[in-house]
Symmetry: C2
Subunit: 324 residues, 2 copies
């Protein structure tokens, strides 16, 4: 009989939980609010309750659960299982999350950062399934990244690898939130796209001005996409410019790592071809032919669930490695 | 008693051969001219003679040689052992180099491209020794690259990975030999540095004008370095600008892969601190603190021999993998 792995995606807003079998069947999933203000002990208790509730509903004994994987916001040490001080979990400081949860659940618990688990989810069960090398870009307020090579996450010697939003695409370019200039994130994130739309605002004829009541501070990614889809040339150009920057970052990774697939995640992928056609074209024009022809550029296959399912996948991989 | 591995670095000018023990002791090495015009059969015969001569001199029986690794210019298929059509080996077209040499030497032969073997040499016995992740930039006419992660070469799904000269550092930037714009190689190679020196030539006061008899076509990397070292401000600025571009490419790799070391190879590293101080500073300013603090940026430890010793190292690793 198959054993189970549990994924827990701990975000600032929701705690998502999923039960997955060894052969990748999703048995159950649920989501409940985080109550971030309650602090680490209350949240860890809440995670334990969520896990116990979900297993009980499915008549699953915790003895049949091989491992629990918890995805959390960084910075953290995935090996020691300690979460340092994530900005969107107030009151957390050097919390030994893996150990505390192992005690509460009496099961091996592993932690990984949220960008890595999302990448591993897509590799394990999503758009990267069947490939041994994938690169994930998560497009949101920032640009997150994940890299799987040789069928394993590239975490780096300190666990800080795959910061793909901070590869350089422009010397002395736009200031990035990280303090450096010319990072991919400064252009290809939703924030970067809004920045680009504001930059050209004064000299453009665009329905964005009506949609935002003349106030460039009201521009959002969704409004840009909506206007572009409705035929606004300026909005379409802003979107395409953003996708071109992303394509340059993707081309760098295609030339550097020759991966089988690149998977794009995050709300921006709802723009579909408006995004993908430009990214693919930019990669073709900027990477060598053999790796560019090889690399499929795909939307995430698991939608909002790549994180929670990736938590289970990461935990399963680590459990297997420790017990092989 | 220790067995031996033989490395053969096949270049357009010289064939270098080295005998190495399993525990990384270099027993013997030699170099002889390639006679590139003679074509593949004559060159393969020449390699066999070179290997037999060197083993005979050392009283080593070919039965005690575990494997022979041959580094050759790409493009090639490292798995099938076929060399396609390297520009600097005229007459070569789809040559089954590994099979042909295995027949001639009656020993398992493996091929790998010259950038990868140089990287593996530095990882195995050079400035990367003891690390499990290193990134190599080879600075010459172009910018070559090599990546070792998880103690193995990142070759990519088609063997084209680690083209680090073709990560993008500037959108719509300088035209690169690969046909794209804004590649690292267009700025950080010796060719790129000479290009930069010519770009500012007209408006600069510089001793380069005397050294090159007023002809910007006569600028070379060595002349720029010589002038910079002698105190020429323009030449120093050109050199520093080149090193800054390289630092941006290195910072991208530090953020993407969080490697333990970056190793710089090629003639340009003779400039020493003039190069390294700027590369290190640029990485510190453009990468996250934890991975930037971690990553040592070092000159190659094996000088001109990283290739031939890396050939032996690659062959040894592949032999071990096949026989484990």
């Amino acid at each position: 009989m198959s054993k189970f792995i549990i994924g827990v995606d701990l975000g600032g807003t929701n705690i998502k939980t999923a039960i997955v079998t060894e052969d990748k069947q999703v048995v159950a999933r649920e989501s409940r609010p985080t109550d971030a203000a309650a602090g680490p002990v209350a949240i860890m208790d809440l995670i334990a309750v969520a896990v116990h509730d979900l297993t009980r509903q499915q008549d699953i004994n915790m003895e049949d659960v091989l491992a629990v994987g918890i995805g959390a916001p960084g910075p953290m040490n995935w090996q020691t299982g300690i979460v340092y001080s994530p900005p969107n979990l107030p009151g957390w400081s050097n919390v030994p999350l893996a150990d505390e949860m192992s005690k509460r659940l009496n099961t091996p618990c592993y932690i990984d950062n949220d960008a890595n688990v999302a990448c591993f989810g897509e590799y394990w069960m999503g758009a990267g399934q069947g490939a041994e090398s994938i690169i994930v870009f998560t497009l949101g307020t920032g640009v997150g990244g994940g890299i799987v090579l040789f069928n394993q996450l590239v975490r780096g010697i300190d666990g800080t690898a795959a910061e793909l939003g901070h590869v350089k695409v422009q010397r002395d370019g736009r200031l990035c939130g990280c303090g450096a200039r010319g990072c991919l994130e400064a252009y290809a994130s939703v924030t970067g796209m809004v920045h680009t739309a504001r930059d050209g605002w004064d000299n453009s004829h665009t329905t964005l001005k009506d949609l935002c009541e003349g106030d460039p501070e009201k521009i959002t990614g969704k409004i840009i996409y909506k206007a572009a889809a409705a035929g606004d040339a300026y909005a379409a150009q802003v979107f395409q410019d953003t996708a071109t920057w992303l394509g340059l970052g993707a081309a760098s990774m295609v030339n550097a790592l020759n991966p089988e697939r690149i998977v794009l995640c995050g709300g921006m992928i709802n723009a579909g071809e408006l995004l993908f056609a430009t990214v693919r074209k930019t990669v073709r024009e900027n990477a060598f032919k053999v790796p560019a022809d090889r690399c499929k550029i795909l939307p995430a296959g698991l939608g909002e669930d790549s994180g929670v399912l990736g938590c289970a996948g990461c935990a399963f991989a680590r459990y297997q490695e420790e017990n092989s």
